[in-house]
């Protein structure tokens, strides 16, 4: 059986763990298979879960999040017959490891464009969860996309906090949203886990648009969520489980070309996305795929050309 290790946020984090769980569930429903799973509670359990699942014969062992990189680099070599999969890591040199990274900045770029196109005020917002590089990475792509549409655009970016509570504080998310609205923002992108629930809610209540993250969150407030930046963790997990022990190892970066990231369009936001918007964004998408536009990753030198944190 495959095994799935969720990160500390838990499998219902309204974010990528939940997406992974969705992918795994889909696989299980389709194949009738079953999988082992654990929601980590502490740092020390990372290695523990890897070893225990590997020893129990689980294969592949799928793990979530960049924090697994370090434990994987020590554990995976001990179990050469087990295949490991990690999401959000791309820099390890371990033979029996499949590393899946997403070009979140590219996806964020597209929704940034849509935000700028939809904005009437010339101000758009970004609400992050805890201030960590990954979230800056999201914000950075978003800002670049927005500026590509409107170089004069004003981007209000906020982080919710510095403790893990920042991922689960919808009340603070609401207040940040209200603050951004009062600063003129009329489209707000939330990359903040459970806090984002508050952002989307308040945006809907206050009559401005919001942008969801990770999975398709358009349905949360139909007609009020402009789009969602999709990060297809569910697909990555589903594919890995489907491939089973034969899963291919190596580094896989899923960008726009691979449909690993993208923006969501469905009946819930159909009315919000005009044909012009769609055309502009799709064009940019193709240009990025073709290498005509390069979206700078925050990781490249820990700064963002379009936004300062």
């Amino acid at each position: 059986d495959p095994a799935l290790i969720f990160d500390l946020g838990g499998k219902f984090d309204k974010s990528f763990n939940e997406a992974a769980f969705a992918g795994a569930t889909k696989w299980a429903e389709e194949t009738g298979g079953s999988f082992l799973e654990i929601e980590l509670q502490s740092e020390a359990q990372r290695e523990q879960a890897l070893r225990r699942f590997a020893e129990a014969g689980a294969n592949p062992v799928i793990t979530m999040g960049f924090a697994m990189a370090d434990p994987l680099s020590t554990v995976a070599p001990d179990y050469p017959d087990t295949k490991f999969v990690v999401i959000d890591v791309s820099w390890l040199d371990v033979p029996n490891l499949r590393q899946v990274a997403f070009a979140e900045h590219e996806g964020s770029y597209l929704v940034g464009m849509m935000a700028a196109l939809a904005s009437k005020s010339g101000t758009v917002g970004f609400v992050g969860g805890m201030d960590v590089p990954l979230i800056r990475h999201f914000g950075c792509g978003y800002a670049q996309g927005a500026k590509a549409v409107n170089p004069e655009i004003n981007i209000v970016a906020n982080m919710t906090g510095t403790t893990p509570a920042a991922w689960n504080d919808p009340v603070k998310g609401s207040e940040l949203t209200k603050a951004q609205i009062s600063q003129g923002a009329d489209v707000i992108y939330a990359a903040a886990g459970g806090t984002g629930v508050g952002v989307l809610q308040t945006a809907a209540d206050e009559g401005v648009l919001s942008i969801g993250v990770d999975s398709n969150q358009n349905h949360l407030h139909p007609g009020k969520v402009l789009t969602s930046m999709m990060k297809r963790v569910d697909v990555a997990v589903y594919d890995a489980m489907k491939a089973g022990t034969d899963v291919e190892t190596g580094v896989f970066t899923l960008g726009l070309a691979e449909n690993g990231v993208g923006y969501a369009l469905d009946e819930n936001n159909a009315e919000l996305v005009t044909d012009d918007m769609k055309a502009a964004v799709d064009e940019a998408r193709q240009q990025i795929i073709d290498g005509e536009i390069s979206v700078v990753s925050y990781y490249e030198n820990d700064t963002c050309p379009a936004l300062s944190f």
């Binding site: 838990g10 654990i38 509670q41 740092e43 020390a44 990189a69 590089p133 990781y299």
Partner: protein, 364 residues
């Protein structure tokens, strides 16, 4: 004067309380549609049934011993230090700085100096609330709560903006050099043909924690300083009468407390993760409050309570591994254990006392 023999108070009551907590936990497990017997035996086997399990149980227990002792020492001076969490975070910073920026020739030296650094950083973080309490009367409960939040911000800043290796996604420091690797139980106890404590994070710090228990016991019950701390804790006017300076005791008790909380970092940062991550303390500072209260602020009690919580953590991990029981169940079980052994102990004691009184009257 006491109605009950001491053993009943120390052994029987906690045992009955634990059983009650277990029964209620079982009901909760049934409530979410799982098998309580299987769950409990999985926990016991997973946490205590192998050296591997013990290796995790004792690792967690080591953390809780430090934070529990920290709360206890302050408690003896009637200071409620809720700041263990922040002090442990800062302790981690001290360890990381000591391990990353000094080329240690051997882990023994590194351990000594990292301990000192951890204690100093933790103590420094306790010093300001202590000073404000002693000189300005600012309530230490509020200031230490505030300092927990401030510590989180400091750590976040340091890891995101200063100590993170360039381009790394993880808000964490680089891995510590091999030379400061602390011997784990596996390194210490495994032989060529039997691998004991395999992969478990318990390490030499456990013995440091044990030594800290003994040292705190000596300090509190055997030294003049400990005598003064206890005297001050029981009666401030009494301390004044005896020429014990409230300022001095408040400062010293809080510095020791903060130092102990900081020293937790040598277990989790230096011993386990071997790098400093954002979430290093994981609430151990708060568990320390429960551990100290349940251990009645006595080092031996703290030791036992820490083991109990270590067991719950590791047993909970096993549950999480092999069942799909939500991890919040463990939180509920912890709550019930704290409730019954800590807050509702009189519910057991009162009837038991009546039983013993009757026995006594019959015999005498």
């Amino acid at each position: 004067m006491d109605v009950m023999p001491k053993w009943a108070d120390v052994v029987l009551i906690p045992l009955i309380s634990l059983v009650l907590a277990a029964i209620l936990s079982a009901l909760v497990i049934i409530g979410i549609g799982e098998d309580p017997v299987a769950a409990v035996s999985l926990m016991v086997k997973g946490a205590l049934g192998s050296t591997y399990g013990w290796g995790y149980t004792l690792y967690y227990a080591t953390n809780f011993m430090f934070t529990g002792l920290a709360v206890s020492v302050a408690f003896h001076a009637k200071l409620f230090n809720i700041g263990g969490e922040g002090q442990a975070m800062l302790g981690g910073l001290g360890v990381a700085i000591a391990c990353l920026y000094v080329p240690w020739p051997h882990w023994t030296l590194a351990l000594i100096f990292a301990s000192v650094a951890a204690a100093l950083f933790g103590a420094a973080w306790a010093a300001i609330p202590a000073y404000l309490q002693a000189r300005r009367g600012s309530h230490i409960v509020i200031t230490t709560i505030m300092f927990n939040f401030i510590a989180a911000a400091v750590l976040n800043y340091m890891l995101v903006n200063v100590m993170r290796p360039k381009g790394a996604m993880d808000p964490a420091t680089a891995r510590f050099p091999e030379a400061v690797h602390l011997p784990s139980f596996q390194d210490m106890f495994s032989t060529a043909d039997s691998a004991l404590f395999r992969g478990a994070p318990a390490n030499i710090t456990f013995f440091v924690a044990l030594a800290a228990c003994v040292a705190v016991w000596l300090l509190i019950w055997r030294t003049r300083l400990g005598y003064e701390i206890r005297a001050y804790g029981h009666s401030e006017t009494g301390a004044l009468y005896a020429g014990i300076s409230p300022f001095r005791i408040t400062m010293i008790a809080m510095l020791i407390s903060g130092g102990l909380a900081g020293m937790m970092a040598i277990n989790n940062v230096m011993g386990e993760a071997e790098r400093l991550v954002l979430n290093a303390t994981e609430g151990a500072g708060f568990i320390g409050i429960a551990v100290a209260l349940m251990g009645r602020s006595h080092p031996f009690g703290v030791f036992l309570a820490a083991i109990l919580f270590g067991f719950l953590y590791q047993g909970g991990a096993e549950l999480a591994l092999w069942t799909s029981i939500p991890r919040e169940l463990i939180v509920v079980i912890q709550a019930l254990v704290i409730l019954f052994t800590g807050a509702l102990d009189n519910m057991v004691r009162m009837p038991l006392e009546r039983v013993f009184l009757r026995l006594r009257q019959r015999n005498g």
